[in-house]
């Protein structure tokens, strides 16, 4: 933070989420970098959703649904757990959760980075379109369902049907995978993938502590891409 950083305090026990978000939405891309400290979030929904400016938002406690949803440019730090759909449809920026995330974390997100220190529940990264998701704990079932692009890096285990109907996203899992979804297969871990993983480790602050070789890579078998001639008899 440089000396010109403006700091704003927002107490959600005396102000509304709508007031907070209106103030954040009024910031434009060129506005001075500023720091927003949000207190008493108490699991409220849509905190700092739709921010479109390079600001930092620090939320001091657990948040409800869709925190940081549609985020563009902003860095959002949550000192607690996050409810359903955190960073949903994020375009760019950085969302960091100190606790766990509920279902559909980073769903449909096009870009940016979502870092979850704890576990993520079911459907993490569902239909992800370019986001980099890093989960230091484990993820629930149906994660990366129809994932199109981006990376999902999991330090723990993955639940049932990982990567069902996946397109071109890369899934890196260090622990066990309960089952792979339709058309999702384990793939060779080449040097380019290890290099990519190392970049994720840097983001997570664990570079040099973990060997990328402990991870397995999963991706699309590309069998669902085209009509299979063997099925012609069905029509």
């Amino acid at each position: 933070m440089n000396a010109s950083t403006q700091s704003h305090a927002f107490d959600l026990s005396s102000s509304t989420v709508r007031e907070l978000n209106s103030a954040l939405h009024a910031l434009k891309e060129g506005s001075n970098a500023s720091l927003w400290r949000v207190t008493n979030p108490r699991g409220l929904h849509a905190i700092a959703a739709g921010v479109d400016a390079p600001v930092t938002v620090e939320v001091d406690g657990p948040v409800g649904y869709y925190c940081g949803g549609m985020n563009k440019h902003a860095t959002i730090h949550i000192r607690g757990s996050a409810g359903v759909g955190v960073a949903q449809n994020m375009m760019s920026g950085f969302v960091h959760i100190e606790g766990d995330a509920s279902q559909a974390a980073g769903a449909t997100a096009h870009g940016g980075t979502l870092l979850i220190e704890g576990n993520a529940a079911a459907r993490c990264g569902i239909s992800m379109k370019g986001v980099d998701i890093i989960v230091k704990g484990s993820i629930g079932h149906m994660s990366a369902f129809m994932a199109q692009a981006g990376t999902l890096t999991v330090f723990g285990d993955a639940g049932e049907a990982l990567g069902d109907s996946i397109y071109e996203a890369r899934l890196y899992v260090r622990g066990s995978v309960k089952s792979l979804g339709s058309d999702c297969v384990e793939k060779e871990m080449r040097d380019e993938h290890k290099a990519q993983l190392f970049e994720r480790f840097k983001t997570a602050g664990v570079d040099g502590q973990i060997d990328p070789g402990e991870f397995k890579r999963y991706g699309s078998a590309r069998n669902l891409y085209h009509f299979h001639v063997d099925n012609a008899g069905a029509y």
Partner: protein, 295 residues
């Protein structure tokens, strides 16, 4: 949508505040279910006595029922509901006497359980029954946004289908019609067309067959089809179950003082010591169960 809450106290000193805490949790969940609401509280009980929760229309003179039932029955009125306490040995007699009275129905029975539900905004429902003044060891509550049946008091939760047993449900079951026929053959008489009543009856039947609450919830995974998050209460126990695909939301918190359940974290945000509580999302198809006897 619907919202559900539950609170199971481990610390006796919190018991006088059970109703107040539960009431606040229900209030926060108004947004998830503004149609109607209900709750069951496990309060004081007396060995050898049974408490029957009665329901009638607004302004009904419940006190007059003390004479109708006789046998030393006593009544405490709360708006459209009343709790009648009578010797457990005289329960059948009391029920027979109440059956002759038009417009009064028995909605719950148990040594300790009292059950209240009404149509209206959940916080108004909680206030009309003075939930905030109730004490107890555990309780569950529900705010309803109806999907499967009409917005009526009968369709509100909790459902009680056994002594000191009750259930709240968020979701919708797809095989409740078939299950209803099976249960009816075993002697169950449904009060409503509601799918959640069938879930409650199913669990009661399993427990009647000798299964524990935890085991009955395990059985539900095989026999119930559809979406559900259940919170269930018995005289000494408190259980939670989500369907295998975890369609409906759930958050739990545990401290040395309590175990709490909420459809969303918001419902738990006002609880004492929540800042340092263990907070987690219950896993799909995993039975969570606490029992005061085991504690």
């Amino acid at each position: 949508m619907c919202g559900i809450v539950g609170l199971f106290l481990k610390d006796k000193s919190l018991e006088p505040k059970l109703g107040e805490m539960l009431s606040e949790m229900l209030d926060v969940m108004c947004g998830r279910g503004p149609d109607s609401a209900g709750f069951a509280v496990y309060g004081a009980g007396e060995k050898g006595k049974v408490k029957l929760t009665l329901r009638a229309v607004e302004g009904y003179d419940f006190k007059a029922l003390e004479k109708v039932v006789g046998n030393g029955a006593s009544i405490v009125e709360r708006s459209t509901h009343a709790v009648l306490t009578v010797d457990a040995a005289k329960e059948a007699e009391a029920r027979a006497a109440l059956a002759t009275v038009e417009g009064v129905s028995v909605v719950g029975a148990g040594e300790r359980m009292e059950l209240y539900k009404e149509v209206g905004l959940p916080i108004d429902v909680a206030r009309r029954f003075k939930l905030e003044q109730m004490s107890g060891t555990h309780g569950i509550g529900h705010t309803r946004m109806a999907t499967e049946s009409a917005v009526t008091t009968n369709g509100a939760h909790p459902f009680s289908t056994g002594t000191d047993q009750c259930l709240v449900h968020n979701g919708s079951l797809s095989n409740h019609r078939g299950l209803r026929r099976v249960l009816e053959r075993q002697g169950f008489k449904a009060e409503t067309d509601n799918d959640s009543e069938i879930a409650a009856a199913y669990i009661s039947q399993r427990m009647k067959d000798g299964r524990s609450l935890g085991e009955a919830l395990e059985d539900s995974l095989d026999d119930l089809d559809g979406f559900y998050t259940f919170v269930v209460g018995t005289e000494t126990g408190f259980g939670v179950l989500r369907d295998p695909i975890a369609c409906k939301p759930a958050v739990m918190a545990e401290t040395d003082q309590y175990v709490a359940f909420g459809s969303e974290y918001r419902a738990l945000a006002g609880l004492p010591g929540i800042e340092t509580a263990k907070v987690w999302e219950p896993e799909p198809a995993k039975v969570y169960f606490w029992d005061r006897k085991a504690a």
